[in-house]
Amino acid sequence: MKISKILALLALIVTIMSCENDEPQPEEFGTFQLYFDNKVGASELTLSEPGSTNYNYETTNGEKFNLSRFGYYVSKIKLEGPNGELYEDEVSVSASESKGYYQILESVASSHNVMLENVPAGSYSKVTFTIGVAEDGVQEGALGGVLDPAKGAWFWNWNAGYIGMAIEGTAENSAQQYVDWGNGTETKEKTFAVHVGGWKDVTDNENFVNNVRTRTLDFGTTVSVSEELSPNAHVVTDVLKLLDGVNIDFSSTYSVHAPKAGKPFADQLANAFVVHHVHQSSNGHGH
């Protein structure tokens, strides 16, 4: 009888505590902003209409092109500091949300900013994140938010999983012919589409590739997080590094829609993302 009374009392205390506050607050917290700035070499990325023959970019090999779509998924963001500081962005998924997954779309300015909240106060010197949606995300089944296939998620039906990165545009040398798909959609002449997907690791089959990549980027300095200090890391994602890295020849590479063909691009992701600089001030960037 005594035990049950204690249990009931405990339950009551837990209830009161848990309803008052979700997390105990023994320390101080702040925010940290990641700004994803998509570029083509030194130029800002400006999107063109699909099929436009106005080529505003050029690869080192002289392939003239423009971009009509660019974006990627980022998840499992982690900040680390020199004194053991650690922040891991919460991943919480269900049919109604995909917290911790971000779809960075060049066409949606608000998606370029990722605000990390409840970061423990301290100094931080590097950020780690995953590009693409890894096995643990795919195998959760149908999810909401940015992973909802009816709300713009980049989902592959034919080989179920998500496209981790999409690069689309038009290139002078692309061999793509015009295609009328008969259902109101068309593929314009000279366009190209590179969809990097594939998440499975299968032993003894090197064709079966996992194109999900995790990058750790050093700030080259430390920044402090506190209640008053909300730093900002400016991550540059350089499309040119991806295209130059694979020595793109648009006459043969203009339609990449399978894991194996996407692998060379995935292998360049390590070079394409860099932290350009960090800001210590809370609102220094004005992006």
Binding site: M1, T15, A95, G141, A142, A150, K151, W158
Partner: protein
């Protein structure tokens, strides 16, 4: 005695209090209305693969999934429902009249629609294993231009235009509108419950029924000659193999997914549960009777670079050597895998 009851009751009250408080603080998205329907794993079955923790089955979710399963609203012109190619009398495989699937505008698919029983226990889906989670299975049928030829986005739009559906989504999931993840969850709730585990063979395993002499001989032969691939109580090892249907891989099968030449012409080893009522057979519906299938394994295999090594002795294709009598016994055994309880289960019957 009274003391004991009193103590137990108080403990229950305390636990109830904890549950209540968890519920009262939870709020919003985590609330799942309705009672949880029991997914009962048959004792002799392996653990399910389905992620029930993300999508607990409720009476309302199951009912919504059932309504969707039988509703051609999922297809572009409202002409094709899941049930078109997955009929209960065939253990939710297609009828022999549709050797390969028939979609909108009478378009023909290239593969035979298999039974969708016991999907809650499978690791991968479709003949080529393209899909690795049950939730994503319907998307392929909905968006295939030879099946339903509709976009998931537009299905959601159509569902939201229906007040009846909006109400059902709200009752099942507490959402104000139908969304794709909840649509897929509802369908998974309905299909995950499709367990076929009550055939004569299951009753034999449980000591409730005897096999005939022919069936027993068939079982022994089956275990000796077939069960290395059609393994375990699911009657599949869930691997992909080329069983000598053709040397011309017009349909690359598993090779499409792995992008590996060594996998071309391989298809998923199908479960043989209910095989007696799911003719025709093979991915391309090549055979219309079990006799033809057994004859194929006995004498009809076509050699090709990816033919499963188990059918070869060195360079020679040997298939599975069997006498006609042995084939007949194996077929009699396969018929013991027909689950009449499953195909007459009212929970899966269209009652609208």
């Amino acid at each position: 005695m009274v003391m004991v009851i009193n103590r137990v009751m108080k403990k229950c009250l305390a636990i109830g209090w904890v549950l209540f408080s968890l519920w009262s603080c939870g709020g919003g998205a985590d609330e799942k209305p309705g009672e949880v329907l029991a997914f009962v794993k048959p004792e002799h079955f392996p653990e399910p693969t389905y992620t029930f923790q993300n999508n607990p089955i409720t009476a309302e979710g199951f009912e919504l999934g059932k309504k969707l399963f039988f509703d051609p609203i999922l297809s572009r012109d409202k002409s094709v429902s899941c049930n078109n190619c997955h009929q209960q009398s065939r253990a939710f495989a297609d009828t022999p009249l549709h050797p390969t699937s028939v979609g909108v505008d009478n378009r023909f698919g290239i593969r035979n629609a298999p039974s969708i029983a016991n999907m809650a226990f499978m690791k991968e889906f479709f003949w080529d294993g393209a899909v690795t989670h049950l939730d994503f299975v319907p998307i392929n049928a909905i968006e295939s231009d030879v099946e339903m030829d509709e976009s998931l986005e537009n299905v959601v739009k159509k569902l939201n235009a229906s007040e009846a559906y909006r109400t059902k989504f709200k009752t099942a999931f507490g959402t104000e509108e139908a969304t794709a993840p909840y649509l897929l969850h509802a369908l998974s709730q309905f299909t995950a419950m499709m367990i076929s585990a009550d055939s004569k063979y299951d009753k034999y395993l449980q000591g409730q029924e005897e096999l005939t002499a022919n069936e027993s001989r068939g079982l022994a032969l089956f275990e000796q000659k077939c069960s290395s691939c059609h393994a375990g109580v699911l009657f599949t090892d869930q691997s992909y193999r080329n069983n000598g249907i053709s040397s011309d891989f017009g349909d690359k099968g598993r090779g499409l997914i792995t992008e590996d030449e060594a996998d071309e012409g391989k298809f998923k080893v199908p479960s043989l549960r209910n095989a007696g009522i799911t003719a025709p057979y093979m991915h391309n519906a090549k055979f219309s009777t079990l006799e033809e299938v057994l004859e194929h394994y006995g004498n009809g295999m076509v050699d090709s670079p990816t033919l499963d090594p188990s059918f070869k002795n060195g360079e020679v294709v040997v298939g599975i050597p069997m006498t006609k009598e042995e084939q007949g016994d194996i077929i009699e055994f396969i018929h013991t895998l027909t689950d009449y309880t499953f195909i007459s289960d009212e929970r899966f019957r269209n009652n609208e």
